[in-house]
């Protein structure tokens, strides 16, 4: 456990000292300030769109951070050869993968929590009504989803080179975000092979739509019951375990040929 925490700490320090998250935070701030200053037709009293656009950007930035952080950790270490420094210590490959996952998940979660804080602050300034419980549920579900995305990124990065695995992770998560929830709708217009393919994708890809509570937050609904939250948490945990396990399987016997590195 000590090794996992230490490795996660190194990932945390790395992200903390890079500029990525701060740039995204500033970008979000600029977007929110622009939204707040946007007094459409001088109507005033409109605030839902601030929450909506703010949360949209929070999701987008959270996705970018988690994919980028998770996909560059392992190849980055190999490229800079710091992996030798770590793996020559009494650290198992399992601890190494787990430490990386904990680190990138922690970083993504904290970044997203800060983004939520900013959105909530600006929305409150604009006079929005926010149900704190719904908001906390939404943040919790979002954090679980980030864990899944980080695990997917790590699983692909264990074997592929950085460019390839980052592309695959971006594509897979984009499909899970935008296409998978609409498969039943697309299938209504397709038949035969295409419909079969869509059905296959529907069952194969992770379903990110079940982690999305933004509509409840934006339109002022209360929190959802405990049962769906538990079910979604279990689904998220299952996905995380699956992909972290896959990452470990891919990494556990990986050999480092000197001339194939960096």
């Amino acid at each position: 456990m000590n090794a996992i925490i230490t490795l996660a700490g190194i990932v945390w320090m790395n992200m903390l000292r890079r500029k990525d998250i701060y740039v995204l935070l500033i970008l979000l701030g600029v977007v929110l300030v622009t939204l707040v200053s946007l007094d459409v037709f001088g109507l005033g009293g409109t605030s839902a769109y601030v929450k909506d656009v703010g949360l949209l950007f929070t999701w987008f930035f959270g996705w970018v951070i988690s994919v980028i952080a998770s996909t560059r950790e392992i190849p980055g270490e190999e490229e800079k050869r710091t992996v030798f420094t770590i793996l020559s210590k009494p650290v198992t490959r399992c601890q190494y993968v787990a430490g990386k996952w904990v680190g990138v998940w922690l970083v993504s979660s904290v970044a997203v929590t800060v983004f939520y804080g900013l959105v909530v602050g600006v929305a409150l300034l604009k006079g929005a009504d926010l149900n704190p419980w719904t908001l906390m549920q939404a943040l919790y579900m979002h954090i679980v989803l980030l864990g899944v995305i980080c695990a997917i990124g790590l699983a692909f990065s264990a074997r592929m080179n950085h460019d390839a695995e980052a592309t695959v992770t971006f594509v897979l998560t984009t499909v899970s975000f935008l296409v998978v929830p609409r498969v039943p709708e697309f299938m209504a217009r397709e038949e035969g092979f295409k419909a079969g393919l869509l059905m296959f994708a529907y069952n194969l890809f992770p379903h990110f739509e079940v982690f999305d509570l933004r509509r409840r937050v934006v339109h002022g609904y209360g929190p959802v019951g405990a049962q769906p939250v538990l079910m979604i948490s279990a689904y998220g945990a299952l996905l995380i375990l699956f992909f972290v396990f896959a990452a470990w399987l891919a990494y556990r016997n990986k050999m480092f040929a000197r001339d194939r590195m960096g």
């Binding site: 037709f41 839902a48 950007f57 697309f186 209504a188 509509r215």
Partner: protein, 293 residues
């Protein structure tokens, strides 16, 4: 995706501001870039408009045909979102306006967005001046659109700006003549509505012959409308131009607006490029049970 949306939106706005027509060469050919931008702008605008619809229905998305239902993921996703079909009312309606505003800016040639936005501004938010300013902008971008003139005329009439309304109805009827799609039932209905309002204005001003001419024009469109025939004969038989004309148009206006308010949330979806005034068309929003006639 959000960044892409933002970039497309910004680019669309810049291009729009600099005049969309400049994208099209004199020969009428469009460049690939212009075609892509145009498609992006239209898609973005449609997405923003969809957002307005989502807001109007307090977060419940439009129902769509599904190949299957009842999977665990569908059930869970449904549990997370609102399920009741309700509409925003009163002050809450203004929450949809920012999306309509953005939708109209993303695709200024889509008059539907202007019409819906101006309707809510004028009749729900009580901001007729803003609604008319928006319609003026819509006219600037779509100079020969009769629905815009008609919408503007109705708002002017509601506020007693009769001269303004008359000019706008004249313009609307002139634009109707040159409109491409004036063969449709919706277009005929719109024309009859403009003629009716103008006839009432003529009546109010004591211009009996002009009023009769407009009413006869309505009869040519809808020969079965006995009440129009009756009114023509009343006017011909020496009935004085009614002092109640303004009361009549107020009643008709109120009725028109009420019907539109009732159906507006559902009506957006099936307007397409053309324009109907709501009670002439069917409801395009599945799940909405409102009658339309």
């Amino acid at each position: 995706m959000a960044l892409l949306v933002l970039m497309t939106f910004s680019a669309s706005c810049i291009l729009t501001a600099s005049n969309t027509a400049s994208l099209i060469t004199d020969s009428g050919d469009t460049s690939v870039a212009a075609a892509i931008m145009d498609a992006g702008r239209t898609t973005l605008s449609a997405w923003l408009y969809e957002k307005a619809d989502l807001y109007f229905h307090v977060g419940k998305p439009r129902s769509v045909d599904l190949a299957f239902t009842g999977t665990v993921f569908q059930d869970l996703a449904e549990t997370l979102g609102p399920t009741a079909h309700v509409h925003r009312e009163g002050d809450q309606v203004r929450e949809i306006v920012p999306w309509l505003w953005m939708a109209s800016r993303a695709d200024p040639n889509n008059i539907q967005h202007y019409l819906v936005a101006s309707f809510w501004l004028a009749h729900e938010a009580g901001q007729s001046d803003l609604a008319r300013a928006l319609l003026a902008e819509a006219r600037w971008n779509n100079p020969f659109s009769y629905p815009i003139a008609m919408e503007d005329a109705l708002i002017a009439l509601k506020h007693g700006e009769v001269n303004d309304a008359a000019s706008l109805l004249n313009a609307g009827l002139a634009f109707w003549d040159i409109a491409k799609d004036n063969e449709s039932e919706e277009a005929r209905h719109d024309r009859s509505r403009m003629l009716l309002y103008r006839a009432l204005i003529h009546e109010g001003r004591g211009k009996k012959e002009e009023a009769i001419a407009d009413l006869q024009e309505i009869l040519r469109l809808y020969p079965e409308r006995k009440e129009i025939e009756l009114r023509i004969s009343e006017l011909r038989n020496g009935s004085q131009p009614s002092l109640l004309a303004s009361s009549a148009w107020s009643d008709i206006l109120r009725s028109d607006i009420d019907k539109r308010r009732e159906h507006e949330g559902c009506k957006y979806d099936d307007r397409g490029a053309g324009y109907s005034d709501g009670y002439a068309g069917g409801c395009g929003t599945p799940g909405c049970t409102h009658a339309h006639h």
